[in-house]
Amino acid sequence: SAVISQKPSRDICQRGTSLTIQCQVDSQVTMMFWYRQQPGQSLTLIATANQGSEATYESGFVIDKFPISRPNLTFSTLTVSNMSPEDSSIYLCSVSDKFNNEQFFGPGTRLTVL
């Protein structure tokens, strides 16, 4: 299975600022995903990060608010822009490739917006 790291592991931010979360994988993967999870709740898919092209966003999520980069097959970033307290959540990166049916998850980034 892939080993996935995320930076930062947690952060406390002020309203109106932006935070960029990094996701690094130890091997090349086909697909990378970004999820949001309220503590103790289920996961909501934000977008699929596509290598070399624009991310594919789910309903309710837009590029201006959650810009995503994926410059290569092992790395992606998610930016939470112009943050408000409602953005306080856990943000999870996950990956899958053509050899596995399952997704593997990073440890998550716990964001608190004051």
Partner: protein, 116 residues
């Protein structure tokens, strides 16, 4: 559309007793089903999956799950619970349609409490 349901928000069981965490699914086509576990302040860890083959699937940490097509269920089980099994468990289904290929849909999660 694909979906999974976990009817129990919480399951309480005594250590040493068998445990079951329930999941039902709704899919078009063949189901690709998964169980994940999340410990406090951690990401999700893959436990097991059903793609095809035997209806009883064995996974990590002594867990197993039974695929039941007629009941559209994929319940997670363990013969003897440990206190360390206490965590949040998610059932998921993978979308195999061309429009949403490889998207996962997660259940609402079930908190398992194993008491000593």
């Amino acid at each position: 559309a694909q979906s999974v349901a976990q009817p129990e928000d919480q399951v309480n069981v005594a250590e040493g007793n068998p445990l079951t965490v329930k999941c039902t699914y709704s899919v078009s086509g063949n189901p690709y089903l998964f169980w994940y576990v999340q410990y406090p302040n951690r990401g999700l860890q893959f436990l097991l999956k059903y793609i095809t083959g035997d209806n009883l699937v064995k996974g990590s940490y002594g867990f197993e799950a039974e695929f039941n097509k007629s009941q559209t269920s994929f319940h997670l089980k363990k013969p003897s619970a440990l206190v360390s099994d206490s965590a949040l468990y998610f059932c998921a289904v993978r979308d195999m349609s061309l429009d949403n290929f490889n998207k996962f849909y997660f259940g609402s999660g079930t908190k398992l409490n194993v008491k000593p």
